[in-house]
Subunit: 431 residues, 2 copies
């Protein structure tokens, strides 16, 4: 249909037509992600470069892998992998060691490092970033959070955009898939988890995802990146999604919102407050629309209000594409020193004041019916009350309450439990 | 509450504590955006740099401006502005000339250029990008589309992420504000436009925004960026938002969607197809939630599925912050050559096959009632039909139809108009 003409002028065309340079990669790890990196590196073509795997570090050469390892220069020796004159080291081993030691060794030799390892960054980020700064060596980790959405590197280069005072997000696709499946099919948690495992979205041992540990590590990466705050994952308040029941999701929907696995933090006052866990999200909040394995983040910026990013959060090929883009950036950045940002370590992290979505369970209908008025008398601002429904032979009711502190809501719920015959389960609510 | 300890090690602290370098800016233009750049440049502080306006080019020194110009080194001579040894030229003049000539002069002298001028990029992008490539000089324009959301520069550095085959977005805040206001308040177009003007979201002469010209220029910038396609704005099918009526928005809402000012393009087959105009957006599409002056873009990527970005699209301070971040990036990039991408010029642009949201107006109730069945007989896949309502003494009805070509839907509507006593107004529908 269209007449197509080359627009690139002669001298530009010459530089485009120059033979692509080889980017040599030392690939540390050849599991799901590492295999995808090796496969995509082989097929990805670009006018200016192509990728070559100079070495691939594995623990067991005999293991069955998604890629045929006989075509790759395998080694079981980390030091030997770094000795292959790589332009970039790609660390996709996962876990803390030997990843930490090898990344430090690469940075000491001024070899740029790309990693997708949020556990490593959460536990040793300060040490690794300091090592990278000392030698002006790129250390990129775009795939560590929202693996398919490039945004971390962007903000690290843009000081005004990265003047951020609060963030909230959905950063664990497994948990979001489980809650979405429970809401759509009224499935129980165990069935939804099984579905996630069968779809390849959850590990056989899923506790790191469903208990909130993975999300907490990612929140630590985000806090260092956007707040200049270094905080140990153990200091952050977290709740797993395992306690959410299908009837909680039904009620959330009847209140016009959804229950999502949320990470949130704010630090405008200087002291950070943060939480990780399932939360009621009002329909006005963009995170209420993020379904399935999608991930998203909302940043409250000083100069541009709220900015929002969403896309796939994980998956071998998604992660591999992001890792290889980091490889290209690392080579092009070369020795450009990173924009340093002072980091401070905090030894405690508050919990924020939020609204609450509270499940009330009573054996007796009148106990359930009286509970919301009791909460009001105890100073909890009750905004919405669901009808009482009978489930599993018990009377169930939900209350959406306005912002108050943990201490306040827990004291009020203690009164309900000890004097009014109610069991209660509060989760946070955000707007 | 928290014990705070500095984490930056001694040698890093030394580099943080080094005196910030001055980044000298030649500021071309001192209107709303230029004044905001000058004001923010003065107050913005960073450990590694500070900004200094080396010259500010104005047409009329006497004009009243948002900033006191007496504190700035004003000049009326563009060549003199470039002679002040700037590190970066910031072009916020708007329009084509003298912007084009001055940007080319700066690039010829290897002075990095930052511009927010989508008209300039739409009309002369090929020439400017070629000039920047010839001298390996940065030419950054993050603020040209979705001014408050950094994403263009990110993708230009990441070849795998930028393997995009289609995009859709809301890129004109004025039009989106008007349609949102009409939907929320059942206001007419003229009242909503007045509200937009009073809120400072629309110009006194609003035709460029409401007729779709601004959105079309931005779509041209996006097509060059993500598709490597250079297309003249005049070749793109566009419709203004002026023909939308409050009852269209009511019906869209009753169908579970919204009418938004959309730009959309796809080029997977090689030949691009694109449109600009108001469209029915199903509630499943993330653009259906983007209200008011917010802007957003959804990119269909080859490796990471759909990724989505939203945030403020305009505003002097928002734009100024993005421009100054580009200034920092331009200085740090220095002579790093851009990742070249071959660009091809197309001399025609198809329109895509989409669904349709059709307003049917008849004087006679039975004419209106018969119209949907007539459309079905003519091969239009009618998916939803609204009740007939009487408005302005006429019978009005809306039909949501499945995907078909422009030619097909227009032929069918011609039949309705000539034989069935109906006036019709189709807009596109996307899911």
């Amino acid at each position: 249909m269209s007449t197509v003409a080359s627009l690139v002028r002669e001298e530009d065309a010459a530089s485009v037509a120059a033979p692509p340079r080889d980017i040599r990669i030392a690939l540390l790890g050849l599991g799901q992600v590492g295999s995808a990196v090796a496969a995509l590196a082989r097929t990805s073509t670009h006018a200016s470069h192509r990728f070559a795997v100079a070495s691939a570090l594995v623990r067991s050469p005999e293991r069955v892998r998604p890629i045929d390892p006989s075509t790759l220069p395998l080694t079981m020796d980390g030091a030997a992998a770094l000795d292959t004159r790589p332009d970039v080291v790609v660390e996709v081993l996962g876990g803390l060691e030997p990843a930490r030691t090898l990344v430090l060794a690469a940075l000491a030799r001024r070899i740029p490092v790309v990693t997708a390892n949020k556990s490593l960054l959460a536990a040793h980020g300060d040490e690794l970033i300091a090592a990278a700064a000392r030698t002006s060596t790129p250390l990129l980790h775009e795939a560590a959070v929202l693996a398919g959405v490039p945004f971390l590197g962007t903000f690290s280069r843009r000081p005004l955009a990265s003047d951020v005072t609060a963030l909230s997000g959905i950063v664990n696709g497994t948990s979001n898939f489980i809650l979405s499946r429970m809401a759509a099919d009224r499935a129980g948690f165990r069935q939804a988890l099984l579905d996630a495992q069968q779809a390849g979205y959850a590990e056989p041992e899923p506790s790191k995802d469903v208990d909130g540990d993975d999300a907490t590590e990612k929140l630590c990466v985000l806090l260092r990146h956007f707040a200049g705050i270094s905080v140990a994952p153990a200091l952050i308040d977290r709740t797993g999604v395992g306690g959410v029941e299908p009837c909680d999701l039904e009620c959330a929907s009847s209140f016009g919102g959804a229950i999502r696995p949320i990470v949130a933090a704010e630090w405008e006052s200087g002291t950070p407050s943060a939480f990780v866990g399932p939360a009621f999200v009002a329909s006005s909040h963009p995170l209420s629309r993020i379904d399935g394995v999608q991930n998203a983040i909302s940043l409250r910026t000083r100069w541009s209000g709220d900015v929002f990013f969403s896309g796939p959060g994980a998956g071998p090929t998604v992660t591999a594409a992001t890792v290889l883009d980091d490889v290209v950036e690392a080579v092009r950045l070369g020795g450009t020193p990173p924009l340093l940002r002072a980091t401070r370590t905090v030894t405690s992290c508050d919990v924020p004041v939020t609204g609450w979505f509270i499940r009330l369970v009573a054996d007796d209908l009148s106990d359930a019916q009286r509970a919301p008025a009791t909460l009001t008398r105890l100073g909890v601002r009750v905004r919405r009350v669901s009808p009482v429904v009978e489930r599993y032979g018990q009377q169930r009711q939900w209350v959406l309450a306005g912002p108050c502190t943990d201490a306040h809501v827990r004291a009020a719920l203690d009164v309900l439990e000890t004097t009014a015959g109610c069991r209660t389960r509060p989760i946070r609510a955000i707007e």
